[in-house]
């Protein structure tokens, strides 16, 4: 996983309108108990699927941003609104 402050960014794919697509994935930190993921894990057993030992549930955001938005700004918006840095990590990926 790419930690906050680092980036898995590729060179932005620019469109004619100067809008890039960016994905921000937010996940609970490994040390945070993910009770929602645990409930999903148990429910998988109830639909007859065995062999899934763990599920962690996060959030996936797709953003359309102007080319003027730089990586630092993307991480700032991710860390100040999309994720809570106390309990969540995030990655920023330019598509």
């Amino acid at each position: 996983m790419v930690r906050p402050g680092t980036s898995s960014c590729h060179p932005p794919r620019r469109t004619l309108s100067g809008v890039a697509r960016v994905v921000v994935d937010v996940m609970p930190k490994p040390e945070i108990l993910d009770v929602q993921g645990q409930a999903v894990t148990r429910a998988l057993g109830r639909i007859g699927v065995s062999g899934v030992s763990g599920v962690r549930q996060g959030k996936h955001f797709e953003l359309e941003v102007d080319d003027a938005i730089d990586d630092e700004t993307l991480h700032r918006l991710a860390g100040s609104l999309l994720a809570n840095p106390v309990i969540e990590d995030w990655t920023v990926t330019r598509l």
């Binding site: 009770v35 929602q36 409930a39 999903v40 148990r42 429910a43 109830r46 639909i47 549930q57």
Partner: protein, 227 residues
């Protein structure tokens, strides 16, 4: 015909809120309320089941998604297939949709606000197991209290529901939550499974609710089982 009162199961999941009022409504209709536990594979021989409202499993994943796979729901799905009357209210409606006993889904209210207000419902189908004490065209004043109460389905499903008379309740003054075609409650093809977003169990006496208009769902069921 048995002289014993009909036995109506009321399920409690972790996070269920309205099981006490649902059981009270069952008793006010002259039936016996039988508590059912989410973790059990046992319907205790009941004549019908109410899936009450609340926040089962904290609305994890999606409202009703985890509860729809609880052990007791396996029994409810099997029972419904054999004609067992099942009523889902609010989160119970969400659970029945997630369990595929009813078509469609409930999503966040248009406007994103939690809505808590009394609404007027028009009864459109008085032939289901839960609405026979009403007459089509009746108006019921009952509370609505939900965050994810906006009923949605694809156009073909909505057309099928309307074409087959399976819209049971509609918001008379427009759906405050943005539900498709103002739908508040629906039934399955057989008419034994009914789900609705507003709360008839909170409207069974003027002392504690806006009306006693909701009692008819429970008396309908009790009369049918006793017959």
């Amino acid at each position: 015909m048995s002289s014993a009162a009909p036995r109506v199961g009321v399920i409690t999941f972790p996070g269920t809120l309205d099981d006490v009022d649902a059981a009270r409504a069952v008793r006010r209709a002259g039936a016996e309320a039988v508590p059912l536990w989410h973790g059990d594979h046992d319907l205790r021989g009941v004549d019908a089941v109410v899936v009450p409202g609340g926040f089962s499993y904290g609305d994890y994943l999606r409202a009703g998604a985890i509860a729809s796979l609880a052990p007791i729901m396996r029994e409810v799905v099997d029972g419904a297939g054999r004609g067992l009357p099942v009523l889902g209210i609010c989160n119970g409606f969400q659970i029945l949709c997630e369990a595929h006993l009813l078509p469609g889904a409930l999503i966040a209210n248009a406007g994103m606000h939690f809505l808590c207000r009394d609404v007027v419902l028009g009864v459109e189908n008085a032939r289901t197991a839960w609405t026979r004490d009403y007459t089509a065209g009746d108006e019921l004043l009952v509370p609505l209290k939900s965050q994810e109460g906006r009923y949605v389905a694809d156009a073909a499903t909505l057309d099928e529901l309307e074409g087959e008379g399976r819209v049971v309740f509609r918001y008379r003054d427009g759906a405050p939550n943005g539900s498709s075609r103002d739908i508040a409650g629906i039934t399955n093809a057989a008419g034994n499974v009914v789900g609705l977003m507003p709360h008839p169990e909170h409207a069974t006496s003027g002392l504690t609710g806006p009306s006693s208009d909701g009692l008819g769902l429970f008396t309908s069921l009790a009369a049918q089982v006793a017959a």
